[in-house]
């Protein structure tokens, strides 16, 4: 970022025409856009939150209408939606914790999967160009929900907070001096590390995806249009191909991260249950 800033300054000052580089390279500022609505209030909205709100409305409309019009004999779109639901139900939840235990967590994992998928896909939707999960708060909310859920299920299924903590912090079959080291680590794991890892994994993927993709497109624009030099056009075409490839890759990453998030939610909830059940 500093480099691009330096170059921009240089451009302004020295008037170099060819080797100064594009001025609009993506930076972390893309993820901290200015507030554009209700500035200064606790419900201020910036660009990413606006994208998130729009995507929410779209998601509610599309899936709401799909569900409303759902028929016994599904059409193609309904078949696809049903396939996704069953994918979450069987491949995410039941394969992790079994049908008996998992049934009550299907709606939660579905919410997380569908929401994360649609929000992640905003990163490749023209006009949005940034994932709706690309501020830390959204992945953090997902992760906190997971945290609350596995603490709840742990407390309930183990028969109380004490028993849950005993199971988590003092695993059986370990010599007691080890607990001095192990128990704080285990506590950190269930209180901070697990939700933190969930949050950072999703957020960082979206950040890096946006940076790569935006860089590729800015460079394409720079080499083909801005520099006015026919010799540089092939370089621009290469950048464009790279951007094309990265777009496809980002679509894949969007689905993959939604899948990973919901699977880990199921895994964490499952591990909060007593071992011998």
């Amino acid at each position: 970022m500093t480099g691009s800033v330096g170059l921009s300054v240089l451009t302004a000052a020295g008037g170099l025409t060819l080797a100064d580089g594009p001025s609009e390279l993506p930076s972390i500022d893309d993820f901290l856009p200015p507030e554009i609505l209700f500035q200064g209030t606790p419900f201020a909205m910036n660009r990413i939150i606006l994208i998130r709100a729009i995507m929410t409305v779209v998601l509610l409309l599309v899936f709401g209408i799909t569900a409303k019009r759902a028929k016994l004999i599904p059409g193609r779109w309904q078949g696809f939606v049903e396939w996704m639901i069953e994918f979450v139900e069987y491949n995410v939840v039941y394969s992790t914790m079994g049908e008996l235990r998992g049934k009550r967590y299907v709606p939660m994992c579905c919410t997380i999967f569908f929401t994360a998928l649609c929000f992640n896909l905003c990163g490749v939707i023209p006009g949005f160009n940034i994932a709706a999960t690309a501020t830390i708060a959204m992945p953090l909310m997902f992760a906190l929900w997971t945290l609350v859920q596995y603490w709840r299920s742990g407390i309930r299924s183990n028969g109380g907070l004490g028993k849950y903590l005993k199971k988590e912090l003092f695993p059986a079959g370990v010599p007691w001096p080890v607990y001095i080291l192990l128990s704080p680590i285990k506590f950190l794991e269930i209180a901070v590390i697990q939700p933190g890892a969930l949050t950072l994994r999703l957020f960082a993927n979206m950040v890096s995806g946006h940076l790569t993709l935006a860089t590729a497109l800015v460079m394409t624009d720079w080499y083909i249009i801005q520099v006015h030099n026919a010799a540089m056009v092939p370089v621009g075409i290469l950048w464009f191909l790279f951007g094309f490839l990265m777009t496809a890759f980002e679509i894949f990453i969007a689905a993959l991260q939604a899948f990973i998030f919901s699977v880990l939610t199921a895994v964490y909830i499952n591990s909060s249950y007593p071992e011998d059940e």
Partner: protein, 179 residues
């Protein structure tokens, strides 16, 4: 155009803003309510209905198949029965026919025997009559013939009768010799 990074350093990325938390939470709650209360129950209902329908259809098909099998068995039984009955009727008819033929033949043979016996009897009686009448006529003819030969009337009936008898006796012995 980027500005100098005094206001936004890298760590800012990882510190959630209050308003961001607020909106994320609102949106997540709305979406969770949507998925929990509407979207998934709706599809669950569709899935259940579909399973029920398929199950119902399969049961119905099984019932229909069973019914068809029963009907087929019934018809086959009836067919077998009918075949047995038909062959029985045929056998009876054949037996009766041969019976009738045998009766008719017996009756015909009896009648034929009767007819031929009657004929035999009538031939015998006619032969007898012929013999008797021939006997009378031959006598008178012989007498007339002998009178003409002898030229005179035989006077006494006794002589006449003796002559006839002797002639007849000759005739009979002659015919016996010829035969």
């Amino acid at each position: 155009m980027t500005t100098f990074a005094e206001e936004n350093s890298g760590i800012d990325l990882f510190i959630p803003k209050t308003y961001d938390i607020f909106w994320s939470l609102i949106i997540l709650v709305i979406l969770a309510v949507f998925f929990y209360k509407f979207f998934l129950p709706r599809f669950q209902k569709i899935f259940d209905e579909r399973a029920e329908k398929i199950q119902g259809g399969m049961d119905k098909a099984a019932a229909a198949e069973k019914e068809a099998a029963e009907a087929k068995k019934k018809y086959e039984d009836q067919l077998t029965q009918a075949r047995v009955q038909a062959s029985k009727i045929r056998d009876d008819a054949r037996a009766e026919a041969s019976h009738i033929i045998a009766d008719a033949r017996t009756r015909a043979e009896q009648e034929a025997a009767q007819v031929s016996a009657n004929a035999q009897r009538s031939i015998e009686s006619q032969q007898q009559q012929a013999l008797v009448s021939l006997k009378g006529e031959v006598g008178s003819l012989s007498v007339a013939l002998a009178g003409k030969i002898l030229g005179k009337q035989l006077e006494s009936d006794a002589v006449q009768s003796d002559m006839i008898d002797s002639v007849l006796g000759d005739l009979e012995s002659e015919s016996a010799d010829k035969n």
